[in-house]
């Protein structure tokens, strides 16, 4: 059985935001209002000459126990057998309970106005027809044809790695199994499938 996961190495993310741009174009997100399915935060850590800038990419964690799915009143949020959490925009009424439940701030609002603006912004290829509480899908349409998610494909520092946790020969599975890559907020019981390799230990 396939169990998709992503590992993000904070040591090699240079904050170029190419992942955000690639994702936006691939998934037609409402970037005109600053809403992205994946976002790279940056933060200055340290004092005086020891300050460094940390880039922190984040996205939906495709949890094994997703709170956004359990609170969804219409069943619009669902999980594929391969672990990818998706939204059926036709079923979604946009109550945003999922956004409230998500500990990773991974939901974005797509309104009626965004659907209209999307037609102008993305042109005739625009696919969205109804508003919804949108989210990352690990680009499952690309994964289905053997490609990687757009953000992984475009990452210049190879900070993002995508793989199958159930394949013991997959580098992603090995990094997770070794404990080098760790999930965010594991104590919440969401069992996320996006793992991070810490940069602060190396930087001291």
């Amino acid at each position: 059985m396939t169990h998709y996961a992503m590992v993000i190495d904070l040591n090699t993310c240079v904050g170029c935001n190419a992942c955000m741009a690639a994702c936006a174009l691939e998934n037609q997100t409402p970037v005109w209002k600053g809403e992205w399915r994946t976002h790279v935060h940056d933060k200055e850590i340290g004092l005086r000459e020891d300050v460094h800038r940390r880039f922190f990419p984040r996205l939906c964690n495709h949890c094994d126990n997703p709170p956004c799915m359990s609170v969804c009143p219409t069943g619009a949020t669902y999980k594929l057998p391969n672990g990818i959490v998706k939204v059926d925009a036709d079923l979604c009424m946009g109550c945003l309970a999922c956004a409230m439940a998500c500990p990773y701030d991974a939901r974005i609002e797509v309104t009626y106005a965004d659907v209209r603006q999307g037609r102008d912004f993305y042109g005739s290829d625009y696919r969205r027809t109804s508003p919804s509480a949108d989210k990352c899908t690990f680009c499952d349409h690309l994964v289905a044809v053997g490609r990687k998610p757009a953000c992984v494909d475009t990452c210049v520092g190879s900070a993002r790695m995508f793989g199958d946790l159930d394949d013991s020969s997959d580098p992603v599975a090995q990094m997770v199994a070794s404990g080098v890559a760790r999930p965010l907020l594991p104590h919440l019981g969401t069992r996320p499938n996006v793992y991070y390799i810490d940069d602060l230990k190396r930087r001291g």
Binding site: H41, K43, I45, F56, R58, P67, S70, V71, C72, P73, T74, G75, A76, A89, D90, L91, C92, M93, G94, C95, L96, A97, A99, M100, A101, C102, P103, Y104, D105, E109, V110, T111, Y112, S130, P131, S132, A133, L184, L185, L188, G189, T190, L200
Partner: protein, 319 residues
């Protein structure tokens, strides 16, 4: 200080969601209290009519708040279908929507026999004709015959709505202020306290009859107990948040450092009405003004509780 964390409150569910929770909980509890009073304390058609009408209006107002803020209004049809509970038994909004819808249905049906006895029901020729229709006669007769069953169905749904308003917030695991078993308890107690306050206003201002004095005193005593329970629960929240997780501690700072919460809600929304009602229960008041004032303060406090709860929830993000 953890430099790798950032702390955020949310701007997704704000004052309007607080209104949804407030009107939902209070509206349901108003129906429950007025129907239980009619069934077990004394038959009281006017109270039933007031309770049913105001409860349904409150539930509708609250629901409109949520509906108005949906991103995709047409898709609400999925959650209005009762079969949604088979597909999504783990979603509290699905339960809450069904509780609210059926609460209004049973609430209306319980009031039907009493509506016929009002003057307004026979004022116009059209309404007199409607009451003579076969279906309406059948409905009227059966609602009267099965009044207790309908009353209990309304009561069960009403309690469901009141508890649901807390369970909804409890289902969000990232925020310590919300994700704990105290929230449904607090919101349920508050819902019934505000409902009693609302009915005390009705009984003192619009239905002030001498024979209801005992009922008013009973409501005052019940409200006093509920306010006491609310204060105890809030004290527990204070302790839980003060030494809790990062999310809880930040919520603690936001709430207990806010004069609106401390003085507005706890002071004027709970402590002052408690003192006024306690004086009323122990020694009585010579006028209606203190009890009406205390009730209005409880009503204000009920909304403030939910308002500050929505704004006080803190997400602790690890970036």
């Amino acid at each position: 200080m953890d430099v790798t964390m950032t702390y955020h409150t949310q701007d997704i569910w704000t004052w309007w969601l607080a209104l949804y929770l407030y009107f939902g909980g209070m509206g349901a509890a108003v129906l429950v209290v007025s129907f239980l009073t009619d069934m077990y304390i004394k038959p009281y058609p006017r109270l039933v009519l007031w309770g049913a009408l105001s409860g349904i209006v409150m539930l509708s107002l609250g629901s409109m708040m949520l509906f108005g803020h949906l991103l995709h209004h047409v898709a609400v049809i999925h959650v209005l279908n009762p079969l949604i509970l088979l597909r999504k038994p783990d979603a509290w909004i699905a339960w809450g929507t069904q509780f609210i819808v059926w609460m209004m249905v049973w609430g209306f049906l319980y009031a039907v026999p009493h509506i016929k006895d009002t003057k307004i029901a026979h004022r116009w020729q059209l309404t007199r004709k409607v009451w003579a229709w076969g279906t309406v006669v059948w409905l009227h007769d059966n609602c009267g015959r099965y009044a207790k069953l309908i009353g209990w169905l309304a009561t069960i749904n009403g309690i469901g709505v009141a508890v649901y308003t807390g369970l909804l917030l409890q289902s969000f695991p990232a925020v310590a202020l919300w994700h704990n078993p105290g929230v449904p308890l607090l919101f349920t107690v508050s819902a019934f306290s505000t409902a009693l306050a609302f009915l005390l206003v009705v009984l003192n201002l619009f239905n002030h009859w001498h024979e209801d004095q005992a009922l008013r005193h009973f409501y005052e005593r019940m409200d006093l107990i509920l306010i006491s329970a609310e204060l105890v629960i809030l004290f527990s929240f204070y302790q839980y948040m003060e030494s809790g997780s990062e999310s809880a501690v930040h919520s603690w700072v936001l709430l207990w450092g806010n004069m609106g919460w401390v003085i507005g809600f706890i002071g004027f929304g709970l402590v002052v009405p408690f003192m006024v009602e306690l004086r009323g229960v122990l020694k009585g008041w010579s006028t209606r003004v203190p009890i009406v004032t205390a009730s209005l303060l409880v009503l204000m406090g009920g909304y403030m509780l939910r308002y500050y709860f929505m704004y006080g929830g803190v997400y602790a993000y690890p970036w």
